[in-house]
């Protein structure tokens, strides 16, 4: 998925929030304010922190499975074995498709 810049994300979020607020049904808009810091502050802070949190979660994933996230996996012995096994499997199936085919007369 595309990762937007923090600024773009902030602007987009702000727009969505603004439009959403305008379109909010009157009954919902009249709800009491939540017991937290102001909405604007919350959005701003979280938006600024967001890229960091994404990076953190992504690097966690990479740390646990380093081989399977990039093409370098196929340079490892396991990766080579995968390519060989896959190639053999595809090759034999292609051979089978050609040689085991029952060809109907009149086609």
């Amino acid at each position: 998925m595309q990762r937007h810049s923090p600024f773009a994300r902030l602007v987009a979020t702000g727009c969505v929030f603004l439009v959403g607020t305008l379109l909010l049904p009157a009954g919902l808009a009249a709800e009491p304010a939540p017991k937290t810091s102001s909405m604007r502050d919350a959005v701003k802070v979280v938006a600024e922190r967001h890229a960091t949190s994404l990076t953190t979660s992504r690097s966690t994933l990479q740390a646990s499975e380093p081989d399977l996230q990039s093409g370098s996996f196929f340079k490892t012995p396991a990766g080579v074995a995968v390519l060989v096994a896959f190639g053999v499997g595809v090759g034999y199936a292609l051979y089978s498709a050609s040689n085991d085919r029952i060809r109907s007369s009149g086609r």
């Binding site: 998925m1 919902l28 808009a29 937290t36 810091s37 949190s53 396991a78 085991d100 060809r103």
Partner: protein
């Protein structure tokens, strides 16, 4: 890895009544973020991380977030807000059509102190009225599930479905088979056409009850199969399965053999089935690939006199996924496969087919699917799909000689025929999902479907003739052939709303329009129906805590577009010519029946449908336990059949040969004064002049109890019991709703026809269970089912002259369903030992189907007093088929 797998399995194990409501291929995660006091928190950052990247939203003014258009799989949800400890919920499983509802509670604290939670495996959806069974790839991976035809076999593992008949619906032909969201059935009669590799399945949804308006084209069940895709992580699977004759049992007892000497156990001489798969990123977060290749080869010694049947099926699958932005997804899939088969039966069927009398089958196929998905923020998404396939199957005899029926009932010569069946199917689907807040939460969906299919069937006797021999010499010969063609046209529009009011009441409202037409090769429209089907459902969260729900549903379900309903009306059938055969094979024509169609289709015909009403209660009992009880009623209507136009009937006495009591049969009274012509029409009520009024009915009533136990303490299970009753005058065999000649005379309508239909099984018990054996760490998974036998009714084949009719008629001698076949109890097991090396999983497993080698008689001869099978006289009530014998299969697989 085994444990992870089994836990996931537990989460998805055929969980009846789990979250289900909306789109055919995707799911939704929605939720509310609150603080410790339960106050909603707006502006919270919610990050969803899946296999193909991450996506972020902020909660709205009511603390609600929503991710729509999600591919099935597991996700991690992380919520953050300044001043609160981040909350992370892992392993959130999204299934097809599921709406996962979360309530995330943020506690005051530092951002560094993340609260991590693993999602609850068993959950109750309090908003849907659908009852679905989700079968994940993990389940398919673990259970000893039959693989011969993945699309169809999945169905029979579900509660309420047996022998392809779902909740009293017609066997096989009444079920919609969706592949990546689009129906791929044979447009001729609605049975399975596309066969695919079992291992390409990501998840299967078997939807039967309470379906929303987007689901149509079925009066039984819907099987919705989603195929695997590539992701940011390279993944692969290599599997090889093997079996041979030494792993095949023989379950024909001497007593059964004495009843029917032609019976024998089918044996697998050799099975060699391998799959190689590879998927991963082409460009991270942007483009992904998935490729799968299978070669399935089996050699069998089948039932009956045949000694060999072979099948070699190479199958190639590719899928490319392109995500230009986080909100756009383009997918293209392609399959090419062949189904090369030898040993298929000749004229006379299984019991009369020797090796020399078989045909071989050539059937290549291309399947394509392109789709585009656009996510329009947190409240809407749009999907467009285009799917089609092209294929044919040709049957050619291996011995190019005409078939000969001998006067003792046996057959000789060659298979006796050749045939060619061509298919082309195209379908376009487009839909828009939109969530709206107005007097509650609405989840609207609007969709359009357009289907165009082409069918061509050709058949001819070998050398144009079929012989009837007397005393080993040809006596009569017949010639017959056809070349018929038709096109199905379907336009569908639907709208539905899942409207949640006050958090506890959800109304599921929908309406669907299907316009179905049939056009012959002459450009004439033969069939035209317009159907509007309402779907009304209500779900009530009884406690307000999301653990107990009461559901009610009423819906009208219309079948799919099929050629077979009107195919008898199109031109293309050759004359049926009868010859007397003289020495030197000199033929002298003695009768000729014109092939010109005698059938016309009623202009006011209505499409077959089933009306469904169900009430369900579902309760989460404790952590990991869930139970449900459902009452189901289905009533079939608009049966399509044919009736004699202007026919008059006169009752005549007939002595029941089984009871020696007098009974009445009906003779065609005005044969001399009218032409034999038939009207293809709805036969719900038919007035037979001089005989009485007949009705086409089939009603299903059932109670379904299901108990799920999620994985804990090394075991998990699902147990179900269904008590049902299917009664009526029309059986639930394939095509019974859409095409039959049963109503052409009153003799198969008014005489002993109302009763338990053949596929009625009052008692059904099914158990899936898995246990992880400690110390040796071997997974033991099993599937046990115990079913009532199907019914059968004694009949006598009465010659045409008794009825003044053009052919003999089978007259039932007792009330329909008066006899029942044996109860069935079968156990299948899988033992698997797994070795984990880093991320690599190596498994070795053994499957044992029919562990106890049960030889239950599943069908008996219903013809009274006897029938001739391969020259052997088989008396009424004697066995004609037994269940498949024990079969062992071993497998090796490597995956990561």
């Amino acid at each position: 890895m085994v444990r992870r797998l089994t836990i996931t399995l537990a989460a998805l194990l055929l969980s009846v009544g789990t979250l289900a409501s909306a789109q055919t291929q995707t799911g939704t995660i929605t939720g509310t973020v609150v603080d410790a006091q339960g106050q909603v928190l707006p502006g919270v950052s919610v990050v969803l991380t899946g296999r193909t990247g991450s996506s972020t939203q902020f909660t709205d003014g009511t603390g609600v977030f929503r991710f729509v258009g999600l591919q099935p799989g597991t996700y991690t949800v992380r919520a953050e807000l300044q001043g609160f400890r981040p909350y992370e919920r892992a392993n959130v499983a999204v299934s097809i059509g599921a709406t996962v509802q979360l309530r995330l509670t943020l506690e005051v604290g530092a951002l560094q102190e993340t609260v991590q939670v693993v999602a609850e495996a068993i959950a109750v959806d309090t908003t849907t009225t659908a009852t679905d069974n989700k079968i994940s790839q993990d389940l398919l991976f673990a259970m000893p599930i039959s693989r011969t035809n993945a699309a169809v076999n999945m169905l029979n593992y579900s509660p309420g479905v047996n022998s392809g008949s779902a909740f009293g619906g017609s066997a096989n032909s009444a079920n919609a088979l969706l592949l990546d969201g689009v129906d791929t059935r044979d447009p001729e009669g609605g049975t399975a056409w596309t066969f695919f590799n079992y291992n390409i399945i990501e998840e299967v949804q078997v939807g039967g009850l309470g379906q929303s308006a987007e689901y149509g084209g079925f009066t039984g069940a819907v099987i919705n199969t989603i195929t695997k895709s590539g992701s940011n992580r390279y993944s692969s699977l290599f599997e090889h399965r093997y079996s041979n004759k030494s792993l095949s049992g023989n379950n024909i007892s001497s007593s059964v053999k004495s009843q029917n000497p032609t019976l024998s156990s089918s044996k697998v001489d050799s099975l060699k089935d391998y799959t190689v798969q590879l998927g991963g990123p082409i460009r991270r977060d942007k483009m992904f690939f998935f490729g799968s290749v299978q070669r399935y080869a089996i050699k069998q010694d089948p039932d009956g006199p045949r000694t060999i049947r072979t099948e070699v099926s190479p199958r190639f699958n590719t899928k490319l996924t392109f995500q230009p932005t986080s909100n756009d997804s383009l997918t293209g899939t392609f399959q090419y496969d062949q189904y090369n088969q030898t040993g298929r039966t000749g004229l006379g069927g299984v019991a009369n087919t020797t090796d020399a009398r078989t045909v071989e089958q050539d059937s290549p196929e291309f399947i394509w699917n392109g789709q585009y998905r656009k996510i329009l923020g947190s409240s809407s998404f749009f999907e467009a799909k285009y799917t089609g396939y092209w294929g044919y199957f040709d049957l050619d005899p291996i011995t190019p000689l005409p078939a000969r029926l001998n006067d003792d009932g046996s057959y000789s010569g060659g298979a006796g025929y050749s045939a060619k069946y061509d298919r082309l199917r195209n379908q376009l689907n487009a839909s828009l999902n939109r969530y709206v807040q107005a007097g509650g939460t609405h989840n609207f969906k609007f969709g359009v479907e357009i289907e165009r299919s082409k069918i061509r069937n050709r058949f001819a006797y070998t050398d144009g003739l079929f012989f009837y021999d007397v005393g080993g010499q040809p006596y009569l010969a017949y010639s017959y052939s056809y070349d018929v063609e038709g096109r199905n046209k379907r336009q569908t529009v639907y709208a539905q709303d899942q409207w949640t009011i006050g958090g506890r009441f959800t109304a599921n409202l929908g309406v669907r329009y299907d316009g179905i037409g049939g056009e012959g090769s002459d450009g004439r429209e033969y069939y035209s129906t317009n159907s509007v089907s309402p779907r009304l459902g209500l779900a009530i969260d009884l406690t307000g805590r999301g653990n107990s729900v009461l559901r009610a549903y009423y819906g009208q379900l219309y079948g799919g577009a099929v050629f077979t309903s009107w195919s008898r009306a199109v031109p293309g059938i050759g004359d049926y010519v009868i010859y007397e055969v003289f020495p030197g094979n000199r033929l002298v024509e003695i009768d000729r029946i014109s092939g010109a169609s005698k059938y016309v289709v009623d202009d006011d015909i209505d499409h077959p449908r089933s009306d469904e009403f169900n009430v369900a209660f579902e309760q989460q009992l404790a952590r990991g336990w869930k139970a449900s009880a459902t009452y189901i009623r289905r009533e079939s209507k608009n049966f399509v059949n044919s009736v004699l136009i202007n026919g008059q009937w006169s009752p005549v006495a007939f002595t029941n040969p089984k009871t020696n009591q007098a009974m009445t049969i009906y003779r065609w009274a005005n044969r001399a004064s009218i032409e034999q012509r038939f009207l293809i029409t709805n036969v719900d009520t038919v007035n037979y002049a001089g005989a009485g009024t007949g009705e086409a009915t089939r009603d299903y009533n059932g109670v379904m109890l299901v108990l799920n136990k999620g994985y804990s303490n090394r075991w998990q299970a699902q147990v179900s019991y269904v008590y049902s009753k299917t009664t009526g005058t029309v059986a639930s065999g394939a095509f019974s709703d859409v095409s039959s000649s049963q109503f052409e005379t009153p003799n198969q309508v008014l005489i002993n026809r109302d009763g338990r239909v053949p596929l009625d099984r009052p008692h059904e018990f099914k158990l899936f269970a898995g246990y992880q054996i400690p110390k040796i760490e071997v997974a033991l998974n099993g599937y046990f089912r115990a079913l009532s036998g199907t019914t059968y009714t004694p009949f006598n084949r009465v010659s045409s002259s008794r009825f003044n009719w053009t052919s003999s008629i089978d007259v039932q001698l007792e009330e329909q369903g008066s006899y029942r076949n044996d109860k069935l109890a079968l156990l299948d097991l899988r033992l698997e030992k797994v070795f984990n090396v880093g991320v690599h999983r190596f498994g070795i497993y053994a499957d044992l189907e029919n562990v106890f080698n049960s030889g239950t008689v599943i069908t008996r001869n219903a013809r009274f007093p006897s029938v001739s099978i391969s020259g052997n006289s088989v008396a009424f009530g004697n066995a004609t088929a037994v269940t498949s014998a024990r079969q062992g299969t071993v497998g090796l697989r490597w995956s990561f």
